[in-house]
Every structure is written in structure tokens, then in C-alpha cells.
């Protein structure tokens, strides 16, 4: 299939209307449909390329075909420059994928963010994840000016205002509101651990309808957190998706633990990797086991597989875990992915 004969009946001529919106849904998107239908959802993260080549995005996304319900396009993760989240999402919606636009408050102020929010919805994006963002010092441009005009909670409030009140923050009217399913993040594994459920409550109060968490390698801490979340009634108010990671070796795990902000990996996981004959396989087994355990926890709505530089193993881990049961998430028909190639 070449760029000229995309089946418009399937993709839609207007990328803003990929599917009809169902009763009681806030977005047109497939991701919201999966969660609201009560399925255990699987999401993953695409690493935006250091390239202007749209093919690269499609090749990376195709690795997840049939295994995930939504793909997060990171926004300058770790304060490193890559292709923008908005552009990655726009390329993915062309094929009908269900990308999650990540917005970090580090690089843009409220004027820019509101403009991008409208633009994303116009390009067919149905999901947004509100993040505060890593500090610029963590990345390859530590001399950059950090913006942080909003924080993740104000950002969710902003998008909620645009969608539900149909106005900008200034009160100026929107002709068509951005119909986005709003998400936020949570890290139950770092201090103040006893207040993390209260923090989750604030995120939900600000507008979050689904949550994606930081890596979970510590089940007891998660179970405590979920039990508090259930006591506060939060699992009824938002879909809580827990992050899982694919660790390739004990060395990488140790490096991540001490260098990536907010990553908590208990010693027993590291020992397991050290003692394994095939550490890479062991890392995938650990991930699949955690996913199975997540599915058993009351109030956990899905798993978010983060496999940076291990993306080719996401399918393997999902299959191994069996969390999807008989369900096969939507994927586009195979294409030759030459759409938009600059030659």
C-alpha cells in the first residue's frame, strides 16, 4: 500500500474523527473503549526517534502490533531532545493507532500547551498524559531554561477546562472542544509513601480519568498503596494502570536504580538477575510474573510496559504473562510503511 491509496473508509479522511464516540465516553478513542469495557489493558512506550523520518516511528510502533491497546509517545523524556510527542502521535493516528500524547510542563507554558492540546485533538489524538517532567539538568541540554509554568495537576485542570467548559483558561470560548481522555502519573514507590494515595486523590480531583504509574518491582508496597486507594474510593473513579519494566541485566537494574529518578528496584529482583543463567530471559520472566500479579489485584486496570531499548521484547512479555487472555488488541493491517518517506 502506498501513501496515495490509504483506505479512507477505515482511517477516516478527518483524523479528528477516527471512530464514533460511544455513550458516556469522553473521547473517540479505542483506549478508553478498552478500559470502559472492563478489559485488562496493556499499554507501552515508544521511543521517539532522533530523526525526521516518519518511517522510523511506524517501524517502532509495528513491533507492538497485536499486543498493546495504546502507545505512549514520550515528550523529551529524561530531558533529552527527540522527535516531539505530538508529531509521533500524529504519524501514528494516520494508521489508526491509539497513541497517548505525553505533555510535560518542563518545556512549554500554558499558552503553548493549550495550543498543542487543540492541535493534537485535531490530528486524531484521543488520549493525553499530564506530566510535570524531569528537570533539565537530567538531560543533554542542562543549560536550557526550565519552564514549569504549570505542574501536572494544573495541566490536567487546564485540559479538563478546555474539554468540559469549552474555553481556554482565559475564559475565551472554543468552537470545538478537544475530546481527550485525560491521564496522569503516580509513583507509589518513593517518599512520602504514606501520602501517595492522597496525591493520587488530588490527581483524580484535578481531572485524571486514568493513571499510569512508575515502574513497579515491589509488590508489597503496591498492594498497600492499592488498598489505601480502594479505601479512598479512588479505584472507582479512575483506571489505574501500573508500570512494569523489562530489565536486561543486574548491571542495568543497578544503574537505573541509582541514576534514573524515581526508580525503585528491591535487592531481591537484582539478586534474581545476578543468579540467573540467562539474565535477559530472567528479566522478561520477572516482568511477566509482575503483570500476572497485577491482574489479580482489585482495582488495577492494566499494565504499562516500559522497555526502553528492549522494545522488541514487549510482545514476548505480554504473551508470556497471558494477561490479555484471548483478546487481541487492534493493530493496523500490515503496510510497507513508506508513507511520507523523504527520498
Amino acid at each position: 500500500m502506498s501513501s496515495t491509496d490509504i483506505d479512507v473508509g477505515k482511517v477516516g479522511t478527518n483524523p479528528g474523527d477516527p471512530l464514533p464516540r460511544l455513550e458516556g465516553h469522553v473521547s473517540h478513542g479505542r483506549f478508553e473503549r478498552v478500559l470502559k469495557a472492563g478489559h485488562f489493558a496493556v499499554t507501552t512506550e515508544i521511543a521517539p526517534p532522533d530523526s525526521a523520518d516518519p518511517d522510523e516511528v511506524l517501524v517502532r510502533a509495528a513491533m507492538f502490533d497485536g499486543y498493546v491497546d495504546a502507545i505512549n509517545a514520550t515528550d523529551g523524556s529524561g530531558a533529552h531532545c527527540h522527535m516531539s510527542s505530538l508529531a509521533v502521535c500524529a504519524i501514528l493516528t494516520r494508521l489508526g493507532y491509539s497513541p497517548i500524547l505525553q505533555i510535560s510542563c518542563r518545556d512549554r507554558n500554558r499558552i503553548s500547551i493549550q495550543g498543542d492540546t487543540l492541535g493534537a485533538a485535531a490530528l486524531g489524538v484521543c488520549n493525553v498524559l499530564c506530566l510535570t517532567g524531569d528537570d533539565v539538568g537530567a538531560g543533554d541540554h542542562p543549560e536550557a531554561k526550565p519552564v514549569f509554568d504549570l505542574d501536572s495537576i494544573s495541566l490536567a485542570q487546564t485540559i479538563r477546562t478546555m474539554r468540559d467548559k469549552k474555553t481556554f483558561l482565559s475564559g475565551r470560548k472554543l468552537d470545538l472542544e478537544p475530546r481527550l481522555f485525560i491521564g496522569s502519573s503516580i509513583n507509589p514507590f518513593v517518599p512520602p509513601i504514606e501520602n501517595r494515595a492522597d496525591q493520587l486523590a488530588k490527581k483524580i480531583a484535578s481531572g485524571a480519568e486514568y493513571i499510569q504509574s512508575q515502574y513497579c518491582f515491589d509488590m508489597p508496597v503496591l498492594k498497600d498503596f492499592m488498598s489505601r486507594a480502594r479505601d479512598l474510593g479512588l479505584t472507582e473513579e479512575a483506571f489505574i494502570i501500573i508500570g512494569v519494566g523489562v530489565l536486561p541485566s543486574a548491571k542495568t537494574a543497578k544503574w537505573m536504580r541509582s541514576n534514573v529518578p524515581g526508580v525503585h528496584i528491591p535487592d531481591d529482583i537484582i539478586r534474581r538477575l545476578e543468579q540467573a543463567e540467562k539474565p535477559k530471559l530472567e528479566g522478561r520472566k520477572i516482568c511477566a510474573e509482575i503483570m500476572q500479579q497485577l491482574k489479580e489485584i482489585d482495582g488495577v486496570a492494566g499494565a504499562h510496559v516500559m522497555a526502553y531499548r528492549q522494545e522488541q521484547w514487549v510482545g514476548d512479555v505480554v504473551k508470556r504473562s497471558g494477561v490479555l487472555g484471548d483478546r487481541k488488541p487492534w493493530a493496523p493491517e500490515k503496510t510497507d510503511t513508506t508513507i511520507g518517506t523523504v527520498s
Partner: protein
């Protein structure tokens, strides 16, 4: 000063009581001053607020003071100036991701709030600051809002 700031959080209950006790008097005085002098004394009043709150809380004079809702820990000392924290990057020992030598401002905030009578105020969502207020006095702002309501 960092050590005084930590002291204020440890004694958040005392500072809350002190604030509740003196605040009406400060606002009443400022209303009186504003009526007589208009905006003529804004600069020294702002400087006094900056000096006092700077000493106690490392106040950054954002002009949108939220100390009573943040366990007496000023959120503007967070390197990301998060108003609804903490972020997910807090170190296992409770120190800041960006400045490892500093206790996370929001770990301190939830700790301080747990000791305050009205500590649950930290659970309400705060919107981002109005950047036009930077460097301006919150006390004068509150006093003038009171006057507007009175009129």
C-alpha cells in the same frame, strides 16, 4: 536559610497558630495603612514581608503565598516550582531528585501538614501561580481583597 526552613516545618503547628493569631492584626494594620497612604508604603511593606518570610521559609515572593496549605514548606523552593507535589522523582531517602542535598520540599510539606490543625488543606488542588504577582506582597494583596469585599 535551609536549617530555619526545616525548623519551621518541624514546628508547623506552632507557626500555624502564630499565623492564625497575628494574621488578622497584620491585615487590619495594612488596610489602615492603605487607606491613609495608598500605595506609597508598598515598597517597605513588601521588603518587610520578603525579609521575614525569607528568613523563616526561604520565601521566594511568588505573591501567591500557600504556606498555610503546604505544611509551612514553601513550594517555590521546589526546583520545578510544583504547587501540588511531590513529583515522582523523590529519592528513597526523601531528598530532592534535582538537588540531592535538599530535603524534598513536598516531602517536608506533607510532613508539616500532618502536624497542623488544618493540615488537610494540603489535599485541596491548587492552580498554578499568577506570574504577574512575582515579587509582590501577598499580605497587601489579601488586605486589598478584604477592602474590595467590604466596599
Amino acid at each position: 536559610m535551609y536549617s530555619v526552613r526545616l525548623f519551621a516545618v518541624r514546628h508547623s503547628r506552632f507557626f500555624e497558630a502564630l499565623y492564625n493569631f497575628v494574621n488578622p492584626a497584620i491585615l487590619a494594620t495594612l488596610r489602615g495603612i492603605t487607606r491613609v497612604f495608598g500605595k506609597k508604603l508598598d515598597a517597605p511593606i513588601t521588603a518587610a514581608e520578603a525579609g521575614l518570610k525569607g528568613l523563616l521559609f526561604d520565601c521566594q515572593m511568588c505573591g501567591n503565598c500557600a504556606l498555610s496549605k503546604t505544611g509551612m514548606s514553601c513550594p517555590m523552593n521546589c526546583p520545578k516550582t510544583i504547587r501540588n507535589g511531590p513529583c515522582g522523582g523523590v529519592r528513597a531517602n526523601g531528598m530532592c531528585e534535582v538537588k540531592p542535598e535538599m530535603r524534598c520540599v513536598w516531602v517536608a510539606a506533607w510532613d508539616g501538614a500532618s502536624r497542623m490543625k488544618d493540615g488537610d488543606a494540603i489535599k485541596s488542588v491548587e492552580f498554578a501561580v499568577d506570574h504577574r504577582d512575582k515579587g509582590r506582597s501577598t499580605w497587601l494583596k489579601l488586605a486589598r481583597e478584604d477592602m474590595k469585599q467590604d466596599n
